[in-house]
Subunit: 324 residues, 2 copies
Amino acid sequence: MSNTRIGIVGYGNLGKGVEAGLKQSSDLELAGIFSRRQPEQLETTSPAYHMDDLLGFKDSIDVLILCGGSQKDIPVQGPELAKTFNTVDTYDNHNEIPVHFAKLDQVARENDTVAVISTGWDPGLFSLNRLIAESILPKGETYTFWGPGLSQGHSDAVRRVAGVKNAVQYTVPKEELVDAVKDKQSIEYNKLDAHKRMVYLVLEEDADESKVRETIKTMPDYFEGYETEIHVIDQETFDKEHAGMPHGGTVMRQGKTTDDHTAIYQFGLDLDSNPEFTAAVAIAYARAAGKLAREKQYGAKTVFDIAPGYLSPKSGAQLRKELL
Amino acid sequence: MSNTRIGIVGYGNLGKGVEAGLKQSSDLELAGIFSRRQPEQLETTSPAYHMDDLLGFKDSIDVLILCGGSQKDIPVQGPELAKTFNTVDTYDNHNEIPVHFAKLDQVARENDTVAVISTGWDPGLFSLNRLIAESILPKGETYTFWGPGLSQGHSDAVRRVAGVKNAVQYTVPKEELVDAVKDKQSIEYNKLDAHKRMVYLVLEEDADESKVRETIKTMPDYFEGYETEIHVIDQETFDKEHAGMPHGGTVMRQGKTTDDHTAIYQFGLDLDSNPEFTAAVAIAYARAAGKLAREKQYGAKTVFDIAPGYLSPKSGAQLRKELL
Ligand SMILES: NC(=O)c1ccc[n+]([C@@H]2O[C@H](COP(=O)([O-])OP(=O)(O)OC[C@H]3O[C@@H](n4cnc5c(N)ncnc54)[C@H](OP(=O)(O)O)[C@@H]3O)[C@@H](O)[C@H]2O)c1
Ligand SMILES: NC(=O)c1ccc[n+]([C@@H]2O[C@H](COP(=O)([O-])OP(=O)(O)OC[C@H]3O[C@@H](n4cnc5c(N)ncnc54)[C@H](OP(=O)(O)O)[C@@H]3O)[C@@H](O)[C@H]2O)c1
């Protein structure tokens, strides 16, 4: 079978992750990167084009991976591009997923395309595990813990505080709660109390440290109500230790198989690079999208709708022999 | 939609687990337990019948869960019963899975039935995670650790040693190896060195303890070559602490998203009752088998072939809203 040809739409962190990740799969190949910026502006050696030229690639691209932002890019680009291409996105605006699905499902069905939405890890693999755990252990409770991981939005918010030169914010689940769930204890869980926020920042020379701390800790929506730790560090340490985009987390379910017997179902990720791993998941689902399109299984799909075997380049027989 | 009616074939540990587990799902109902023994012999208040009467239930059972042993029962019962019924099994003879699949696939296709094979947790959920992890992280290494958990076969082997009155054997993964994988270190893994075996036994009154220990430690296939710990305990302690059938384990993949960045993918189970959890998985796949049969998607299937949404009683829209 010939390779599945992938187009990358949007060249930010995720787009770069897809570009790198595609090199690991010999059944997939990069057809081109498409950006709203001029291609010469992009720092890449891969073939790069302006978005305006994308339609010309109708017959030479099998699947587009949409790497734009979930807030503003995907809601616009998704329905538009699904008219012509099979698409995969990592849309993570949880509340809007049903609307996003409905829109793409209509466009994809009308145009005989496949649109796989909300892949990645949350939504994505975490959702998959919430579903499987709940289906197998109907009597129980599911817990999601995020981190330790870099939060882009919170880092931006801290950087906007007067007196702050540089900052990152990590979300960290409270270890004692995670351990209690693993230990089959029952816990009181709410997202806010289950996580703390750790800030590492570099001050401007003339900054008032105590005022900076106070402003951060009382910032509504972002830090207020959370346990927040603030560490002031120097620029050198910042550059050395806080340049990456680590993330991860855990989905756990405590279920009762009978009144006397508990089962703990646990899924965890520990990622040096959040965008690279998100890209890796999107790539596997792009492989699946290619297969679904060849089978004419058109419409919008989520991770819930796709049999896991579609994610692999291996045949069914090979999978049964090697991995079952 | 009316309930999916489930028949249980074989009333051992797994059969009892399915009987108990079905009470947790209001969309499924128990149609009957079928045994090769006389129904009066079974200690149950559920409707129980002799296997010879099973064919009479052709129209009142939607899916059979085959709870016989993988060594002798399933290879015979599976192909025979798939002629008439949709079936789910937990067949765990890994080497023979391709043959088992081929046989059932032929029977199921010829008779318009669905046969889901090798559900449970290994094979089953562990296989699913080996597949997903490898598909997402093509550059990497997957490790499976089993236990801490009771091994029925090894417990039986110890009980057959002269001088042993009662015994259980637990397989325990070496913590330092599991931690090293989580910690992104590279390890040398082979199944044998990665696990140790812990035996708890009660001696007969006149037994020669050192001879018993020696016989166990040097038992070929079972203990020879393994790190084995033997604990001699009294009957009271045995009854109190070793009556359950706990099990579990971990599937982990260390992958490189790029040369500099590692991702750890981890799936773990900690089960008070191995048969009850195995039953819980089989039940969710029985729900899936019922749906597949209604869609006329006939043939043999494995956990790789079934979209996760089929496992849930919830609708696609509900799943997207609540769990994605
Ligand atoms: N489901 C999950 O688990 C998961 C996990 C992580 C992230 N995500 C999603 O992935 C989305 C993309 O994340 P990201 O980190 O890749 O966002 P990003 O770096 O901000 O990139 C988003 C878009 O902004 C444009 N852009 C990037 N760098 C630019 C620059 N220097 N100047 C001007 N424009 C630039 C690019 O589009 P153009 O090339 O067209 O200019 C790019 O596609 C997020 O919105 C999030 O929703 C999902
Ligand atoms: N995939 C996985 O993760 C997984 C995990 C655990 C187990 N398993 C599989 O599940 C299979 C069944 O395990 P199990 O623990 O339920 O085995 P089991 O208790 O030995 O039962 C096997 C069969 O033996 C018969 N039997 C049970 N108790 C009996 C008794 N007191 N006297 C005479 N016959 C009796 C029953 O058939 P009748 O009622 O017809 O007599 C029963 O179906 C195993 O072989 C294993 O392969 C799979």
